[in-house]
Subunit: 666 residues, 3 copies
């Protein structure tokens, strides 16, 4: 998605306002340099207060007032929160999950496959689109919001699942064999015998059901997209607000959606990123999750939601809101949209605070947003549509994520896959090695010099073959423990581990354990504590870079490197501390042609990001992710600091304020 | 309630005895100086073993034997534990709560609004009252026991709730607006659409339902009281055994009952207080919860249950049982009744031990109780009906308590409100500043020089106006963070914070966060760590007494004082450590006319309590809440130590044994 | 059970193999010196894929190939995992427990009393037995596997329970009195009123229901045994794979089975033992659980399952697999059977690894197993049928175990009883004092010089009388806190504590508490911290060996010894640290005639085990449970080290490798 201006704004809910201040709000927005609002998602009961009674007054008023204040509008379909009358009409519309049937109240509690839900969702979307199709300042549409399957697993959904299996396995014997159902007498000899899948102890079957649930999301979004496409103008985009694996903030790749598949029905990827703040603000989530968003359509993306004040512990220090906004752009976003304009005065998100506090006054957050808005009015055309040419990519895989949720590492639980991914991604981030994400659906990785593969637990031979070929043809692979362990049904391979990649990695192993006080020692004298997982690796053709420093496991390798045909492969056989991972990666990349990495290169908390803008100029962002002032040497050509509009010589020393930044165009 | 003698005794259950020792028990009681037993509550299945078959033998035997041993009797209605035949008759009598339907077994598992329950409860009460009305040694009646709504939320109860809303909001649009139901599409456009309230994510609605549930308790107790009143003599009292917010002991104000409302139907307030013991015995719960009990009817109260040996970790050290008993009296109680006489030999409370252990022998606890009994026989008339004239009061508010359960502080969870209340109350307690409690239903606080308002999160403008007026007319207000934040429906105010009190407090703020390693520093050089909550306070007319000692929040005030018309107001904008709170409070009180507070004034573990007895004499209690002997200077007029019957000169030095005490009448 | 050779092998599942390698596997087994496989348990859906369709192909192939490779076969009945078609046929076959009805998937989810389950279980067992009765290399049968009641508590099961009560208590008044049901109005005046027992707060009733559930297990196993006996040959054994109280490994006596009762229907006891490994390998579980197994039929037993690689943290260090195997034999096992041969490639136990890893290669574990196999071929006849003559026994009691699950110690929860048992057992183990286990069903303990009684919380007068008599007649009793507290219905005794044993122990107490920073001090100057429980013991005729070192409890005894008629009794009134328990026990045993205990006697990690073999020779095992080499002095007569076939002089110094051992026959 190319844009002719950065989108800057917030979600807006006239529906939730305690009194009429629409005009005032939009005047304040315009004054802050905002140009876009996002509306309507989750307000079905306002749009259709009773079955078949439509009322678009609220939307119309917001759109009209927005137009007056030069604000564009993104319309969300309202389907992710259902009205009370719809539940009364179809009591079984509330999803039955592993925990029983949902109660009404929460959003995202419905069975997205329910025919009644679909009928009414389609009717309200069509009524809305019909009503809005000629409105000029609507620039795009958001399908639903943070869509998932919400664990829907009622009898009808399970029948759909069994039907899908039946189609996939015309011979039920194949099905039993493929899923190893003889184990614990779980064999299904007649499809009619299929038991409630919620009780299964067969993780292959559980993962298959989860895959089926993810497919429901893709189908649902495509279905909505097809409806929207019947109405939308060519200049209007279709997006979705993708969210991420959640700990107490956006953490990593989303387990419940095949985002690469789901994004196909959209014209631009959108996402929300929420992250720790104050002393815990690192920018890592903005980069990791932003990189995922950028990779979904291999293009710039939209940040449709991010925190203004956010949750109570997230109130930003002075400077942080601006630092965050520029970090999103430096990563390839074409927007920063806050969730949300004003804080809500009651219900569950009252303490998820917007730009304005509950008192609507011009607070510190508003003032800092205004600063951003003013700057972007001035220099936005230099910042938008930033393009990157990264030499490093990280492979993302839903199946392995699901596999490691079923069989987690020692202490990382449901987040095991993302813990490994973040281990690698954050190390790259801290060393200012920019990277893309790439889907495990790809087969050609030759665009990248370095491919990082975190814990690819479960993979088809086809994918593993593509990785082998990548190295054979000159690529440099960085793979971790647990890679190549199981097949697409989470069945563990019965040949030597790592399956199929052994030649490429030059190693094999047949035992592993959780390390207890096991250190690893590199051949060049470094050391680190391992945790959560260690494999007893034997080198075949590989060179050990580190061994276990342990009285009984000392003969096994922990980290290895292998030259394989035209390429090479680094294997990390254990999970160990960051302090060692960073130099190991830097050393490996440097040895294989990645330039400019030395101990003098800026490191976190100094973050450097680069790209090319619409003027064909290089942009170089320098961020200070700390509370103390810092200096950094500008390593690009002579240029201009866009923020201060002052020249910057090559090699000039820039001083960055606490939580401050510079943007040099050259 | 005036009494002509202190009540001293225990709950007694002939029903649970493993063999007949009624005569022995009561002889032992009489010998220990006891004069009262409390019986019959929770023994419905003994009183009415089958539907309509009544058997009062047990009660009769207890009453008669009690009379012989000069023991008065308090009769509890048996309704808080239902018999098995009643559940068989009405299976839906077991309450449906947020966790589904209760199983039989536990007490307090029924729907207190169930017509069948009410019918049978009334029948057994009337039968009992009819049977007992002429018994001379019955001195009073206890309605039910620790009554609550037990979370009853079944379909019929929810219909009652909706009916109450319908009555309150004839126009359903008002209802939707008042509760902000447009949020997440929760609008109810037809009362028939009303969804199961157990699933609501609208805390305003959840709090309204809790208020409704509390009203069921008030209604239930009044209904029982009205029945009792048809039978009772004028000399007999009506009470209820109120209990308190429970952590692993009595902790603070009860969230599930509007105790001030419920107490109206009684002639004397009663309560149970359970507290830590051994090295953790502080007396704070006896004071805080006792002050609540004293405030319910602004009169002396009854301790109907407290621990003898109590739970396993509570076995008292020598001296502690006596220290506790006098502490209750020093606080205004006219009784100490143990729960219970003998330890029970099986079922869930077997390890909640009574005065006697399971072997019924004369153990250490019995011997110490006998010491108390002997002393009270001698000096009880000097100790009973103690009256207090406190200059300080703490405001208690059910709605704010409910509000902070819905939106708790960072780490204090369901106990957030009481954590703030106890922070203040315990600081006063430790500095020997005696205080009353006062209901947020009051509007005139002029009886007190100092009004302490903990976290008044949700309040009507009427109440906030009364607080403003209190200061304007010369009162001194001590209010904490979170005060005046939301209205009666937990809707956050949309004007400047603190709502309506800004002028009186002389401050405003529009942002807050959880503090992480944030200290506050007072203008006089003290310092403390904050936790759980901090507001970024700006002084308008107030003087800052402390700022945040922090690189980014340093410009904001943490504690402020404001002179307002004839009075003043102290505002605590953050939750911080006790060591700073105590001197801050002492300094504020001293500066505004509270005399006798200096660093030399006795402090915890030396506790001093005062009052006036029936002889118009001043009583001064000196308690040593520690395991080492301590000395204290008698600061009243010359008098007599009642315990030793020896004269005490003004200024005399008293030596208190470990866990010991002195009572000086002057 | 006498055997003519040690059984060495593994569980084997042709059903779960990803490809046909039966011949290869059994060739590998034979080559490793294995001689036995255990098959068929939990494979019902393979044996009977559809209702009434039997298919024994898999079993037949395993048996035939086993025969070819000189492997014996143990056949397990397949009944502990039910097929899908059976659940479809009888949806109510899935047990209803306290958590609602089970879902299909897991094993052990059925109601073992369900008539449909019994009908089909009998049919498959009879079909299998008919089919297999003439197979020569089947050496025995295992009934079901790790059988329990699985918490079955549905309406029909509860009716059976009520019927059993009705039979036991013809007069319902007796029932009410016996269970103290007047408490909290729980009285049942008509059996038809009997409420859902899952909700009971009467632990006497709960424990009675658990006893009933345990009786279902005994009945179920006897029923299976009776069927098997109709078919089996005289030379074939019947066993069951008993498992143990589980923390994250085998921990202590099984709460859900009356193993002594259940074992009656078997010809040999079998068990599985799983334990920590690597640095946490101590051998304690092998000894404690093995001693239980040996005691069930007072004979040698079979280890039917133990870990090869086991769970991820258990991967053995080099030497540990062998150390463990010999430890089982040294304890009286006649077998070591691994669970299992090959690791499973999917489903819930994929990471419970067998001898072989998923790749079936000859890994380190296989190589160490082969070493064991080779040695046992050579010297197995010297090792099997080891007999012991222990002077010490520990009493085991299901009822007290249940009682302490209902009323646990402060921090030990459901494992309270076993925590006390292990406290004593492990101290004996570490000091190389070998012991038997003995059932609380016994009445004559005179075979032992020392009887150790951990926390005999609930006991009949008959049993307590037997203990008293044991001491009176010269025995030495070591009893702990909580002994003799309650009767067989968990009703606490109402006479002086400890009930009935007071004279024998020479003490009494009437109060107890959880200790907080309470130390005990022995009269000879040792000291230890107490935890979880302390009784305030007064000596009547006993001599205090230790007091509480505490300002308020200092007058009470913590450990006492009493001379009583011809014997003596040691009482441990508190739970305290191991460092003091060991010398206390050693001192008591030494003073009362147990020879050879001095501070020079080998202690853990050097473990010494003794017995007599079939040649009438003494075997002396020396185990080094540590990662460093150690020396030990051979204290028996001159003999031969069987492993090295070298002579060992009396008093010779043996050097044991890390995790190494020696076996001296003399």
């Amino acid at each position: 998605m190319r844009t002719d201006h950065l989108l800057f704004g917030a979600a807006y809910y006239l529906e939730y306002l305690p009194y009429n201040r629409l005009e005032t709000d939009m005047e304040m927005m315009e004054r802050a340099g905002m140009n876009t609002i996002r509306i309507a998602e989750s307000t079905w009961s306002t749009l259709e207060p009773s079955d078949g009674v439509f009322d678009f007054t609220c939307i119309d008023r917001m759109i009209q007032t927005a137009a007056k204040h030069h604000l564009s509008v993104i319309i969300g379909t309202p389907t992710y929160a259902i009205p009370t009358w719809l539940v009364r009409k179809y009591p079984d519309i509330l999803a039955v999950t592993a925990n029983g049937q949902e109660l009404y109240g929460h959003r995202q509690n419905m069975d997205i496959t329910h025919p009644g839900y679909r009928y009414h969702a389609e009717r309200i979307i069509r009524a809305m689109m019909e009503h809005l199709k000629d409105v000029p300042n609507i620039i795009g549409f958001q399908l639903d919001n943070e869509t998932k399957s919400y664990g829907t697993a009622g009898p009808r959904v399970q029948q759909m699942f069994v039907a899908s299996l039946k189609k996939k396995y015309p011979d039920i014997l194949d099905f039993n064999r493929e899923f190893g159902l003889d184990y614990w007498s779980n064999r299904v000899n007649d499809w009619a015998d299929f038991p409630d899948v919620r009780g299964t102890i067969n993780q292959s079957l559980a993962a298959e059901f989860q895959r089926f649930q993810r497919s429901l999301v893709t189908e649902f979004l495509s279905w909505q997209s097809d409806i929207i496409k019947e109405y939308k103008r060519d200049d209007q985009f279709i997006t979705q607000n993708f969210d991420f694996d959640w700990t107490d903030h956006s953490y990593g790749y989303q387990p419940e959606v095949d985002q690469y598949d789901a994004a196909r029905c959209m014209t631009v990827a959108g996402a929300d990123i929420y992250h720790p703040s104050q002393d815990d603000l690192t920018g890592a989530e903005i980069t990791v999750c932003g990189n995922i968003a950028r990779s979904l359509k291999k293009d710039n993306y939209l940040i449709l939601e991010t925190e203004a004040q956010g949750l109570t512990p997230w109130l930003p220090y002075p400077g942080q809101l601006r630092l965050q906004a520029y970090s999103h752009l430096a990563n390839g976003s074409n927007s920063v949209m806050y969730w949300h304009w004003h804080s809500i005065h009651n219900a569950i998100e009252s303490y998820w605070k917007g730009v304005l506090s509950h008192d609507f006054s011009e607070n510190a957050t508003y003032r800092e947003a205004s600063e951003i808005g003013a700057e972007w009015k001035r220099i936005g055309t230099h910042l938008m549509n930033l393009k990157k040419e990264n030499r490093v990519a990280i492979l993302l895989d839903n199946l392995s994520l699901a596999g490691l949720r079923q069989f987690p590492l020692e202490t990382t639980g449901d987040h095991s896959y993302n813990a490994v991914m973040r281990w690698l991604a954050d190390a790259l981030y801290r060393r200012n090695i920019e990277f893309d994400m790439v889907s495990s659906g790809e087969r050609d990785f030759s665009a990248y010099d370095f491919l990082v593969v975190p814990a690819l637990y479960a993979a088809s031979d086809d994918l593993l073959g593509a990785l082998d070929r990548y190295v054979a043809e000159g690529g440099h692979l960085i793979a971790t423990f647990r890679t190549g362990f199981a097949d697409e049904q989470l069945k563990i391979h019965h040949d030597v581990q790592p399956h199929l990649l052994g030649r490429c990695l030059g190693i094999h192993y047949d035992q592993f354990t959780y390390p207890k006080n096991v250190r690893i020692a590199t051949t060049d004298g470094r050391s680190a504590l391992t945790h959560d997982w260690m494999e007893l690796v034997t080198c075949d053709t590989a060179t050990p870079l580190a061994h276990y420093d342990h009285p009984f496991w000392g003969s096994y390798a922990a980290v290895t490197e292998n030259a394989y045909q035209k390429g090479s492969a680094l294997y990390l056989g254990a999970f160990f501390d960051d302090e060692l991972l960073e130099p190991l990666l830097v050393s490996y990349l440097s040895r294989h042609g990645y330039e400019g990495l030395s101990e003098d290169t800026p490191q976190f908390p100094l973050i450097v990001k680069r790209g090319t803008n619409d003027f064909g100029k290089n942009l170089c962002y320098y961020f200070n992710y700390s509370g103390e002032p810092r200096t950094v040497i500008h390593t690009g050509n002579a240029g201009t600091d866009l923020l201060t509009d002052t020249p910057v010589a090559a090699g000039a020393v820039l001083t960055l304020a606490p939580w401050g930044l510079a943007v040099v165009e050259s």
